[in-house]
């Protein structure tokens, strides 16, 4: 028995020794860095309570919870309906412009909800295009109540039209690849289209709809721009208020901790909802669903539905923004604006590059090692994406202030260096968006498997050499894709940037948002258009060009 135990211990040392290389050490280091802000919140969550927190808990916390839950429920419900129905129509039927809608209906994602929020407010308010036209052309004055969008239903509307593409893309991808046999069977059995949708499509696509909706919900809980602009009290606005309004970081940490608990509950719920039913077949033979050509009235009905959604979610706000941008072009385009563009691209580029390198290192380690690494690493990287920007910001600030204090006490510096620098913002971007690049890189690695690495190692190359001579050449596309996705997300990011940017540091997103909150909606158009165009081009590149390849 003793001898056996001795052998086990020897094996254990041997396993550690042979797995212990630069890659493993680096990835453990990265993982710890990612975890630090969350740990900082968890550790301080239990700290002593102060008066502000008691006040918040007594009078406000309920409102935050109720408002956040209402938003999450309704946005989740409507995005599920719109996203899945569009995905079904596009996958199963052929009608005019179907090819365009396939990627066109993803385009609303290029418009960040906060930009959509003030654009729609600008369209619908007293001086907006609708009311002005009614007044000037037909002398009609409308009841302002019907045109007020700055309330809870308005916010739900904004989130639904700009976030439904998450459900649409995930469900569409599932239906196109996985459902062919089931749907063709239902068709042969003579089931009507409507019945197929709610008796077959909805149940089998449940897992992908839930996956899409949970991304939507995370976005809603992350949002600061829309709820702030529309004056709805949620967790994120409360975190901003207690911090900037009351200057109370401790209470902000408590709010963040509560929100993290709420999200944890949601993620558990998602697991339960998805259940063991995965509904993906174990066959590797993928047969694409062949769309049925629609005729007559039904053809135009399908076209009309897609066009209606696309119009509201993209064309209308986009045209309005272009019009405003043309009105204010000469005022808003200046040397300062060029500086803002430079800032945005520079910081997004640096952060996305670091993120991509980290994603490659972590996913390579978790792919080549079995057991703990491969199980824990992917989950930790995704953690950051589930935590709202405002919460990460709180965690990062409390961490950096702690570090600064320490450095100051040691006498290295005469003032706080880290917490006033751009390093803090880039660090927060990394924590939040690592998952985006990670997913892309990981799927690239999954596609090639480990056989090329195995072959290269047997031919005498160590893990690092194999990576540079073989792996990286085979997943170039996935690495580049991960970089672009992270870059775009950082470009659009608002709450983190608002909280953590150094003094006087503006990005396109903060620039647009500041104009809008100062009721200078027309001036906000130019930075908004730039954000939308850069995002739209990359969405096009992704879903149109890459899908063809």
């Amino acid at each position: 028995m003793w001898l056996l135990k001795g052998v086990n211990v020897l094996n254990w040392f041997r396993n550690i020794k042979s797995n212990w290389n630069t890659w493993t050490i680096l990835s453990i280091l990265f993982i710890v860095i990612i975890l630090l802000p969350s740990l900082s919140i968890i550790l301080q969550f239990a700290a002593e309570t102060n008066e502000n927190w008691l006040h918040i808990k007594e009078y406000m916390l309920n409102t935050y919870i109720v408002n956040s839950v209402i938003l999450v429920l309704f946005v989740g419900l409507f995005t599920a309906i719109i996203g899945s129905s569009l995905a079904w129509i596009i996958s199963a039927y052929d009608f005019p412009l179907r090819g365009f809608f396939q990627w066109g209906l993803i385009l609303p994602l290029a418009i960040p909800p906060y930009i959509g929020a003030y654009t729609y407010h600008g369209i619908l308010n007293y001086t907006g295009v609708i009311q002005t036209t009614l007044r000037n052309q037909w002398d009609i004055t409308v009841n302002q109540q019907y045109f007020n969008i700055m309330n809870m239903p308005g916010a739900i509307f904004i989130f639904v039209i700009f976030l439904f593409p998450y459900v649409f893309t995930i469900t569409k991808a599932f239906l196109a690849r996985q459902s062919t046999a089931l749907i063709e069977n239902a068709r042969i059995l003579g089931t009507s289209s409507w019945r197929i949708y709610y008796r077959t499509v909805l149940p089998i696509a449940r897992a992908s709809i839930v996956a899409g909706v949970s991304l939507v919900i995370l976005e809603v809980l992350n949002d600061y721009g829309v709820v702030k602009y529309y004056g709805i009290q949620t967790f994120t606005t409360a975190i901003f208020q207690t911090w900037f309004g009351l200057g109370d970081l401790d209470s902000a940490i408590k709010l963040s901790g509560t929100l993290m608990l709420l999200i944890l509950g949601l993620l558990v719920l998602e697991r339960v909802l998805r259940g063991r039913k995965r509904f993906s077949f174990t066959t590797t033979k993928v047969r694409l669903l062949q769309p049925v050509k629609l005729q007559g009235k039904r053809k135009w009905l399908a076209f009309g539905y897609c066009m209606f959604v696309f119009g509201i979610a993209f064309i209308i706000p986009f045209i309005q923004l272009i019009y405003w941008a043309m009105l204010t072009y000469d005022q808003s385009f200046s040397v300062e604006f060029l500086q803002v563009i430079g800032n945005t691209i520079g910081v997004a580029f640096v952060a996305a590059a670091i993120i991509t390198i980290m994603a490659v290192v972590i996913s390579n380690v978790s792919r080549l090692n079995r057991g703990l690494f491969s199980k824990v690493f992917p989950k930790v990287t995704i953690l950051g994406y589930s935590i709202p920007g405002a919460v990460i910001a709180v965690g990062v600030v409390s961490l950096f202030i702690g570090l600064d204090k320490q450095i100051y006490e040691w006498g290295f510096t005469s003032s706080y260096i880290l917490s006033t620098s751009i390093v803090m913002l880039i660090f927060a971007y990394i924590v939040r968006y690592l998952a985006v690049a990670y997913n892309s890189v990981e799927s690239g690695f999954e596609r090639i498997g480990t056989q090329f690495t195995d072959a290269s190692r047997i031919l005498g190359n160590n893990v690092t050499k194999s990576f540079f001579k073989v792996d990286i050449k085979l997943i170039r596309g996935a690495i580049f894709g991960g970089f672009i996705l992270a870059f775009i997300d950082i470009l659009k990011e608002l709450p983190l940037t608002l909280i953590l940017r150094p003094f006087n540091f503006e990005t396109l997103a903060t620039n647009a948002f500041n104009y809008a909150t100062n009721e200078m909606i027309h001036e906000a158009a130019l930075p908004s258009i730039l954000i939308i165009c850069i995002s739209a081009i990359s969405i096009y590149a992704f879903h149109h060009v890459l899908e063809r390849e």
Binding site: N11, R14, Q451, R457, I458, N462, K469, L474
Partner: protein
């Protein structure tokens, strides 16, 4: 003995049963050994263990008097000097045939590389295909490139993981004979994993029949299948083994 596997046990993490349990095997220098078994018998795991792609739970593996894996020893695959031909060849798709073949020739001069390339290209009969990419070759040609690539660095031991499973029957027969000729010409010791009894018989000096991670029969093709070459006769000659496989 050239290859010495002692008391080897292995299981995948999360698996409840062992892939291999207290496995022992010795192989003489220059011999071709075939591991014959159904899928799931542990034969591919054995190959990966010898190559260093998996770490044994217990036991030891030594090749040419060098301990590769033991209780406190583990030599990484890149340091073992063992060659391997993969089931689906794993030819690097971004490299030309010549670059695939010379991939494992580290610290060789350009001239030496060129010379070695010509040697193995000649050996596997692929002259004129050096500048092609793997996807421009047929299945049989790809397989020969994989063999050439594994042979080029002059490995002490060559491993084959079901190398014929992706070829059609005609080609299989032809390549099998050619392979034995090449292996014997180079004198390299090799281990072959297959589920096909014809492969085993045509190639092997020694056959190991594996089932559920344990050896159930071991010997020369003659010991295992009898003297006759015809497959149907073999069943009559030695039903004991074949019913087990």
């Amino acid at each position: 003995m050239f290859v010495n596997i002692k008391d080897l046990s292995f299981k995948y993490p999360n698996a409840t049963t062992h892939c291999l349990e207290s496995f022992n095997l010795t192989i003489q220098k220059g011999d071709i050994t075939t591991i014959l078994g159904e899928s799931g018998s542990g034969k591919s795991s054995l190959l990966r263990l010898v190559a260093g792609l998996e770490m044994p739970e217990k036991g030891s593996i030594s090749v040419d008097d060098q301990l590769m894996a033991g209780p406190s020893t583990f030599v990484q695959p890149e340091k073992r000097g063992i060659g391997m031909v993969f089931q689906d060849y794993a030819l690097f798709p971004h490299l030309k045939v010549e670059d695939n073949i010379t991939f494992g020739l580290h610290k060789w001069t350009r001239k030496e590389k060129k010379q070695r390339l010509n040697e193995v290209i000649e050996l596997v009969n692929l002259k004129g295909y050096e500048k092609r990419y793997p996807y421009e070759l047929s299945g049989g040609q790809q397989q020969r490139v994989a063999l050439a690539r594994a042979l080029a660095p002059k490995p002490k031991l060559l491993l084959f993981d079901e190398p014929f499973s992706n070829l059609d029957a005609d080609l299989q027969l032809k390549i099998r004979e050619e392979l034995r000729r090449i292996l014997k010409a180079t004198g390299v010791t090799s281990i072959f994993v297959t589920h096909d009894q014809d492969d085993a018989q045509a190639l092997a000096d020694q056959i190991v029949v594996l089932r559920d991670g344990k050896i159930i029969d071991l010997g020369t093709p003659r010991d295992i299948f009898g003297t006759d070459c015809d497959f149907s006769d073999r069943i009559a000659v030695k039903p004991r083994v074949l019913s087990k496989v």
